[in-house]
Amino acid sequence: MPATFTTPPNNLAKRVGSKGVSRSSAIQQAEANIASMRDDGVAYIDENLEILNSTFLSLPDGPADVIEKLYEASDSIAGTAALFGFNSLGKAAYSLCQLLSYADRGAGLNRPAVKAHLDGMQMLRRFADADPAATKMILDNLSRLLAHLAPKR
């Protein structure tokens, strides 16, 4: 069929303007709401860290399923940690996702590199960004490791 071009009504447009809640109030209230669920958020992060560690120990049993599970838990941490004050932990989790994605591109799973990430993430969870020098060192090391293991093009 030939392509058709239309301009459907934009219902959102009616909701943006001079009436309602201001940007600053909306953001302030949303941040307060997130802060109120910090305990749940930290518990969620810890739950996923636990999944990462326990799953890693069972790696020899079924690499494909296990890697998927590691990826999901790491992705969950990457997607939430910064909201609860764990910026560096989120970055390390993102790095682990990247590392796990290499396994699917023929690089294979590098177990020591995964272990290094898990150890680093445990430390970052404890520091909670309170020790900038240690945090930087961990993230720099993980970054170098990831660069070293990136599949060659």
Binding site: A3, K19, E31, Y44
Partner: protein
Amino acid sequence: MIKLGATSSVKLDFASANILIVEDKVSEQDILAQILMGFGVPGIQRRSTADEALRATAVEAFDLALIDASLKDTDGYQLIMSMRRSEQASIKHLPIFLLCGHVQRPDVMRARDCGANFVLSKPISPQVLFDRIVWLARAKRIFVESDSYVGPDRRFKSFGPPVGTAGRRHDDLSAHVGEATGENMSQDAIDGFFNPSKVSL
């Protein structure tokens, strides 16, 4: 480029808004719901699967959908493609943000090609969500329906209709767009176009 404008002075009137969250992890549903409640949204519907989301949109009208890329049954990309192919205008034209955690260039390309309005990288901060909602409300992207694609116009720079077709005006831009200015695409990115499947690890 689309001029989206400043967002600092605008207000959101979400007093009667209805927003759909499609996310399989309850904790992450909670985070999104808390942000939206902070914006004053009274109607927040949560669904965990693509199937549940399709059933919800069939019976209820929404102002916006936030859809996670990784769902248990069908992934978010497929869900959006199904919605864009719906016979029901309220589903087909629904503004959609696709939410991604670990996102790479091929994921963004895939999101664009499935018909999402925007891709948001997690963690989703209130600032980012507020601003993207305002952008979406202000954007005047036309809606395209063709055999291979249904969704908002993927071009962010309008060159007008193709040369030689009806409707081309004297002030449309030249058909000659010049040499590429960006870097060559990586193999990963190219693979993403030709084999846009979820990475199975």
